[in-house]
């Protein structure tokens, strides 16, 4: 018999919902997750697993990411080695003088926010990562950058949560959210009403749709990232890698015109190499395209020539939940008691899953969080305070 009530109801069993569920059970709370398809069927199952600090905006974003990264070490003990967490260190590859100039400034800002990062020249980069070509003129390196298996992480969060009493409803879509006198009282899913005083919106790219069910305008739009997957090969990459283009263009938009598409790479535990990524606003279209995969391929082969004769065996498009200011939307919502936001992580959902789960669970269980969530509140967009 399916449940009719819950103490806490989480919409979405992606990595965010799963992490929140896990952390809630540490407080002795047994949440109910309502998932319209399968766990990690959305973006958490269509992304790479980079837990990359160098790509985060210095300031609050980077600080949040650092906190999250620190928690991963403990998660490995709590969740087991099945999450395939590895800490090879990460390199951000620089291919032009313009990028190098931008990165010099960026490195200073990163250090101010507490990230240990060093700038190295091309030869040193090649010494540490022999597969790199001479197109790489310099790089920045951070020992903390890591990687994980995103859907294995999601499943592991859920397994641990379930063994501590959490429940999941699979294949059930939330079609309505019940609000009475400014308070959330439950949801409607697949002909069933489930009452709950707390509803968490962890619906990722679909968070805006869920928000509308509660009468909220949530500025989360899907942004597609196409990723290429190669067949499994013997260990080739010693680090997780991104291009400075990926990072520098966030802060110096003029570099997007000159530098070409940014890329990211990791080699998973199984040996496959994941190469990303496009950034496209195409609605909810998860298909990959000729242009997208050809562009990714043509960007990466000159940088890592050894990949030339490695077969590509699949591609996928993940819809990243984009917000206008690049920060997730976390916490309570003014005027709607019991409704908690936990979405909008764009391409950082995996990396921020650890801290998000902890913060939201703490908020629900105790009303307090380790640091303030003001900067992440939904109202910031209305206030123009982004």
């Amino acid at each position: 018999m399916a449940p009719q009530t819950a103490d806490v109801l989480i919409i979405g069993a992606g990595v965010i919902g799963a992490s929140i569920a896990f952390h809630l059970t540490r407080h002795g709370i047994k949440p109910l997750l309502v998932e319209k398809s399968d766990p990690a069927a959305g973006s958490s199952g269509a992304c790479d697993g980079l837990v990359f600090l160098q790509s985060k905006k210095p300031g609050l974003h980077l600080k949040l990411a650092l906190e999250s990264r620190k928690r991963f070490d403990r998660l490995v003990d709590q969740l087991g080695s099945g999450i395939e967490f590895r800490n090879p260190g990460g390199m951000c590859l620089i291919e032009s003088e313009a990028e190098l100039a931008a990165m010099r400034i960026f490195v200073e800002e990163q250090r101010t926010s507490g990230l240990d990062v060093e700038l190295i020249d091309g030869d040193e980069a090649r010494r540490r990562e022999p597969c790199l070509s001479r197109k790489v003129i310099a790089a920045t390196f951070s020992a903390m950058d890591s990687q994980v298996n995103p859907y294995a992480l999601t499943f592991s969060f859920l397994r641990a949560a379930e063994s501590a009493g959490a429940r999941i409803l699979r294949g059930e879509e939330v079609k309505g959210i019940e609000v009475v006198s400014g308070k959330v009282t439950g949801v409607f899913a697949s002909n069933r009403r489930i009452s709950s005083p707390v509803v968490v919106n962890a619906a990722g790219a679909l968070a805006a749709e869920v928000g509308r069910l509660a009468g909220l305008e949530i500025p989360i739009t899907p942004r597609r990232g196409q990723i290429i997957v190669t067949k499994a090969v013997p260990p080739l990459l010693r680090h997780c890698l991104i291009s400075a283009q990926y990072v520098a263009a966030k802060f110096k938009p003029e570099l997007t015109a000159t530098g070409g598409m940014g890329f990211s790479l990791e080699q998973t535990d199984s040996g496959n190499i994941l190469i990303g990524s496009t950034r496209e606003f195409v609605g909810f279209d998860r298909r990959t395209t000729f242009d997208g995969v050809r562009t990714i391929a043509s960007r990466i082969v000159p940088v890592i020539p050894a990949l030339k004769h490695v077969p590509v065996i699949r591609t996928f498009g993940g819809l990243r939940p984009y917000t206008p200011d690049g920060l997730p939307i976390l916490g309570k919502v003014a005027g709607l008691e019991g409704f908690i936001m936990a979405a909008g992580h764009e391409g950082d959902g995996i990396a921020l899953s650890a801290i998000t789960g902890e913060l939201i669970a703490d908020l629900i269980a105790t009303g307090r969080t380790q640091f303030p969530l003001d900067a992440f509140r939904l109202e910031r967009f209305r206030e123009g305070a982004a």
Partner: protein, 468 residues
């Protein structure tokens, strides 16, 4: 191959593809046939004229003459050309045999991508020496090589008889042909028998010749295990009853270093799926197939489908459908008026219906009732491999289903089944059959997982445009 623009792109140079190309070429259409094989003619013609007496059959000769006529009409067949994807417009992304990438633009597409073999796994099926039945036939037809001096043939379906005869005619010994399907199910319905008497008589004659040459022909017999160390050494089989339960004491060990195992076919619908064509599940047609109307139009405007992908049905049906699709495309292009060819088209449609009736019988020989197949799979031990590439076995699937994963996409993530280099082409049907067996969901309600470009593996360098 350079970027091209043509009126009609035909994907697949097998019998359906070349039959369509001939019709189109004859009426002046600008056509390009893209075939991923070394030579046109598909799986049926493998080896063309070279394989001695094996190609002296009517359909084979027709196929070869069609290919010859194509060069007369200057219709290009690009061999070793793999279509990796289709986009609206239409655009086809093609990788040629030299590792070069190109785009083919066209107004219309005919998908004639054929079929591959379908498998029901058994213990030890990944041992060297265990091969698909079709693999053995191709070795004989194309390269003139036997897999071994002695080959056991087993599985389900009437294709097994043909492969056994090919082996024997080529000087190979076949100790036995073991068929899961019961003898009573092998007997065709009387109406079909009457209409296709010659075909069935031929089949009976083949069985007689097999027996005369000393091959034991057994029905209701299931492969239990293939055993060996570095390679196949022996095969264990047992008789099953009408429900598929093993009959105790009927286990027989066949020493064998070569096993040709076949369990029927499954249509190569992946490219059609990628292009947005609607699929349908129909066990009488061989499982998941591309939905077409009687003019062989798919649900996507401008895309036709012909041959095994509309229904597994054999060479003659492929020739018929290739021609029908060709005429339909000509009409769409305004190169032909229906009245001109009405008689011929009408005759082809009637012929197609008769061929579909045989197709249904053919497919019935390797499709099993849901309870039968479920019981069969449930009896398989945990260590039977399901996904060869990723080394996922049935026990892994069972554990994931117990955890709550019951969709192809979910099980793919939970076990890695289908994530290997073959892109699920071998294990997809096994996974779907296993989900049906373990969850009770009917196969028609377990849609195949989504397909993305590239539908065949391709070097990253080729995708990048860097060439070979």
């Amino acid at each position: 191959m350079d970027d091209r623009k043509v009126d009609v792109a035909i994907v697949g140079g097998g019998l359906a593809g070349v039959a369509a190309a001939e019709v189109l070429g004859r009426h002046g259409a600008n056509v390009l046939v893209l075939d991923d094989n070394l030579y046109p003619g598909g799986q049926y013609l493998r080896g063309g004229r070279r394989s001695g007496g094996l190609r002296s059959d009517v359909i084979g000769r027709r196929g070869l003459s069609l290919i010859e006529r194509l060069s007369l009409f200057a219709i290009e067949i690009a061999s070793r050309a793999e279509v990796l994807g289709i986009e609206a417009g239409f655009k086809l992304l093609v990788a040629d045999g030299n590792g070069n990438l190109s785009i083919v633009k066209c107004e219309r597409i005919l998908l004639a991508t054929g079929a591959r073999e379908r498998f029901i796994p058994f213990k030890g099926w990944t041992l060297p020496g265990v091969m698909a039945a079709g693999a053995v036939q191709i070795l004989i037809k194309q390269s003139g090589v036997l897999p071994a001096h002695e080959t056991l043939v087993a599985g389900a379906g009437i294709f097994l008889t043909a492969v056994a005869r090919d082996l024997q005619k080529s000087g190979g010994r076949v100790p036995a042909v073991l068929n899961e399907t019961s003898f009573s199910r092998q007997v065709p319905p009387p109406g079909l028998l009457a209409r296709q008497f010659a075909k069935f008589a031929q089949g009976v004659a083949m069985l007689a010749r097999l027996r005369l040459a000393g091959t034991a022909v057994r029905s209701s017999t299931r492969i239990l295990a293939a055993r060996g160390d570095e390679g196949l050494r022996e095969v264990v089989a047992a008789r099953v009853d009408q429900k598929g339960n093993m009959i105790l004491g009927s286990e027989t060990v066949y020493p064998a270093e070569s096993l040709a195992a076949g369990f029927g076919f499954t249509a190569n619908v992946e490219l059609a799926q990628l292009a947005g064509c609607g699929l349908a599940y129909n066990s009488g047609l061989g499982g998941w197939v591309v939905k077409v109307n009687e003019d062989l139009k798919t649900s996507v405007d401008g895309i036709h489908a012909a041959g095994e992908i509309t229904a597994i049905g054999g060479a003659a049906k492929s020739l018929t459908e290739g021609r029908l699709a060709g005429f339909s495309i000509l009409q769409d292009m305004g190169l032909l008026k229906y009245e001109e060819m009405r008689g011929e088209i009408s005759a082809l449609k009637k012929l197609r219906q008769r061929q579909m009736a045989f197709a249904r019988y053919f497919n019935s020989q390797y499709t099993f009732a849901p309870e039968y197949l479920a019981g069969w799979i449930r009896r398989l031990p945990d260590d039977v491999p399901v996904c060869r590439c990723e080394e996922v076995n049935l026990g892994d699937l069972r554990r994931a289903v117990a955890e709550g994963f019951d969709t192809p996409a979910g099980l793919k993530k939970a076990t890695r089944c289908g994530m290997g280099i073959c892109q699920g082409s071998t294990c997809k049907t096994i996974l779907l059959d296993a989900i049906a067996a373990l969850t009770g969901k009917p196969l028609s309600r377990i849609p195949p997982p989504s397909v993305r470009v590239p539908v065949k593996p391709v070097y990253l360098g080729t995708l990048s445009g860097a060439g070979p």
